[in-house]
Amino acid sequence: MKITVNGQAIELTQAQPLLKVVEDFGALAPFALAVNGQFVPKSQHQAFVLNEGDMIDILSPVQGG
């Protein structure tokens, strides 16, 4: 199953929960997640199951004006 994480293509051998994929990617707290441009709250990270072609965004604090 092909997905993208922060624009990077990733191949999964089987369907996996969002949290597992994000941890395997090396995400460090604090972060917030979106899948296909939709916010996924922290309470759903474990239960959220990914599908073929899903695009995950892992966002963290940066400087802003």
Partner: protein, 265 residues
Amino acid sequence: MQNQADKWNVYGTELSSRLLIGSALYPSPAIMQESIRQSDAEIVTVSLRRQSPEQAGGQAFWQQIQSLGKKILPNTAGCHSISEAVTLAQMSREIFETDWIKLELVGDEYNLQPDPIDLVKATEILLNDGFKVLPYCTDDLVICRHLVELGCEVLMPWGSPIGTGKGLLNPYALSAIRHRFPNISLVVDAGIGLPSHATQALELGYDAVLLNSAIAQAQDPVLMARAFKAAIEAGRQGYLAGRMPEKDTANPSTPTLGMPFWHQL
């Protein structure tokens, strides 16, 4: 000395400092921290971007900001659509644990002007979702009225386009917004380049200014932060003092009665 009772508020949160400061574009993290401290700002703006594992996920930056003990105002900078802005706002609320959002929605790449139509639509969605929206808007009175009618308690019209440092290009329009909405907290956001620009905004009766580049990109950001603090206090006191009536004709201030050599030549 600043009058401690002279406060303004953001959705009920009372504030003494009338400067909101950005956290971007400083020469170094240490200069950023010291500039923010010297500015006396109580609110610091931040953003969210894709995490970079090479930079430890931005943890260092976040710790630097947290160590300052300021209130956090996340922005939606760079968003070009309502859905992008709404998603980024929701993600910001979770990470930063605040329902404040500086709503930015770019309408044109040339001048980074806020999209007035989509800004109003996104504001409505976010207010209904429980956010306290601080919309970065143009100085269009009618757009501001729509935002107020939706429930915005703070408006942040631009002085001039982001990062230009040109100051207040249309003081008349900004003044009209002030007169039209006497009970709304007004912040000039974007375009401030000099301390005197901030003074002018406060003299117009604006409650505060939000700026970043003017301090971060000064040759000495820490000194400029102190300059802005003083300029903002001067502008506020000038506003409270009430300006003299403006006239079109000259009037001497020194008495003319008793003038020697009066028209003797």
